[in-house]
């Protein structure tokens, strides 16, 4: 999971922070509250998760509880990958 957390951090830093914030992005920072993603950013995130981890994310799963911080993402992904295996 350490690996996944690192990959997710890297994606967020590259894709939404454009290299900034490696020292500033905390794992429990809310992407919405901190303005890290814009209104369409969540779709980019979903595309990344589906392609990278070969999972299918359902519409009902598209909620901040699953997607709105590095910690939420790791927890969500863990559950998804367990169900997949």
């Amino acid at each position: 999971m350490q690996n996944i957390q690192q990959e997710l951090r890297q994606f967020v830093i590259d894709n939404f922070l454009f290299g900034h914030g490696n020292g500033n992005l905390r794992n429990d920072d809310s992407f919405l509250d901190k303005g890290i993603i814009d209104s369409t950013g969540v779709l980019e995130l979903v595309v990344f998760l589906e392609e990278k981890y070969h999972i299918k994310i359902h519409d009902r799963e598209l909620v901040p509880d699953n997607l709105d911080s590095i910690n939420n993402l790791v927890r969500f992904l863990e559950t998804k990958l367990q169900h997949a295996s």
Binding site: D14, F18, H20, D38, S39, T40, G41, V42, E44, L62
Partner: protein, 660 residues
Amino acid sequence: MCGIAGILNLDGQRVDPDHLVRMAGQLRHRGPDDLSVYTDKAAGLAHTRLSIIDLASGKQPMHNEDKSLSIVFNGEIFNYIELKNDLIKKGVRFKTQSDTEVLLRLYEQKGEECVHDLNGQWAFAIWDSKKESLFLSRDRLGVRPLFYTLANGAFLFGSEIKSIFAVPSVFREIDPVALDQIFTFWVTVPPHTIFKNILELPPGHFLTVQNKQVSLKKYWALDFPPAAESVADGAATEERYASDLLDLLIDATRIRLRSDVPVGAYLSGGLDSSLITALIRKFTNARLKTFSVAFDDPEFDEGSYQNEVARFLDTDHHEVQCDYSEIAGAFPSVIWHTEKPILRTAPAPLYILSELVRNHGYRVVLTGEGADEMFGGYDIFKEAKIRTFCAAQPDSSFRPLLYRRLYPYQQAMQRQPDAYLSAFFGARPQDQNSEFFSHLPRWQMTSKLKMFFSAEVKSQIGSRDASDILRMALPPGYFAWDGFCQAQYLESAYLLPGYILSSQGDRVAMAHSVEGRFPFLDYRVVEFASRIPPSLKMKVLNEKYLLKRCAGGLVPSSISKRHKQPYRAPDGKSFFQGIRHEYVDALLSPVRIRQDGLFDPLAVERLVEKFRKGRAIGVRDNMGFVGILSAQLVVDQFVKNFGVTSSYAEYPAGTAAVCH
């Protein structure tokens, strides 16, 4: 339509005519028919002319009998015939048929107060040789541009900043504070421009230079009645508003057809331009030429609606098809004309469209600009209403579903989950009391782009809050207005003159010597609109409700009933489809970004990479890319490589004259 420029030497020295010629030379696109300069005492005026009214004798600079007053004028005074008749009754005699002479005579009679009588779109300068004072004025809403600066003991002004830069020794440097404004509000806040020490004469203002003193005065501002007095009472009121408005719009259109050359119209496929075109058809017998831009990309194209209106109104319709690479190809020229960074490519297709108009031999077009601001058409007004409605019941799971109705034309927005729409647009408790409630989502989202600023720019901006300057400039009655009117004000006072009428209006039309005229921005229409109760402008969520009532029967019902689609063009994608554009690679290279100093090279590199991979779909990424590229073009074209190229040689033989 024309270009104007001038110099007043504060030390009393005579003006070097060569400087005036250089200034006018930068404005030749605004006035390809004629170029003249005039010097008197410490003042000099320059003018480039596009002949529209009184082709034979409207030459400028124009003087009164004893040459004590001299005028250079860019624009149109649409009520010049009525003003002239009034003056003739008072015994004033005229030598020409031009509106310029009317303006000069009116100033002769009334001085600076003359601006209150004018119905038009103008920027003009009058040199009073007896008083040794220079008077500059700009129209109420900022249709025509006017810039000025103080440099080396001289006051310099011009229709475009490039004419001021044509004078040797004027300093050219980007102002980080103005860059911060653009990356918040999408525009600079007048009198700021993107360049340090170069100021814009704000809309609705005049300025006097006398005894080495520059004084600025506001003569008009958009105003609304207090919310408590702005309530609709019954169907009879609604009917009366609709009929009075139609009468006004007919007259506003009629006086805008005054011209000695044929007048065309733009058709966007929406309600506003369709209504204007319909009104022209009622008031002219000539076969009207209409012009449109159509896009290869169906997400942006409105060609089918444009053609439907053209058929319905039986116009001679012409369109130009626009693809991604044409937008990217035109973009450097577009920025040469906008003279400021922009966050959208939408001015580029309009630049291409004005070329089509010119190629048809047309110099004047009427368009629907201003209706969205004055009659409540923009999504930002609807968005604010929904946010207020949701904030009133924060636990409602039904209310946030309305957010999906906001942007039906944006594919990426439609795919968004409900929880995110609500989180993005939802009003936080602290937002609800903000004087800028309607505009906070836009400004906050745009402000995130400042992460691309270089450390140096960030440190120069410091902890400054861009909105402080707007807060200080709010009109006295603002807090008593309905929230809807407050949103209208913010849109009309800043985005309208700074972007819609400028980057998307005057500058890209005049690039090809085409003059836009805007019946919805007739000040009588604007003042009437401001008194219409907000509930009739947008009835529940039905935008431009009253205007649609007015348009009933005049435009196809499919046009008045369709969901409003704002005019947009493909943004970042335009630069990464098809051919590779060398200037994009050059200006966004890490080396160049570092040299120019405005942005962070690493962050820009990653953003470009995201576009190259086709992964940048969001509004924010797109605005960031277009903003950065256009800022780099401004640095390249104006700060680093500005060259004075034009001179008399480019004008038809015999038209240039230096008068003393």
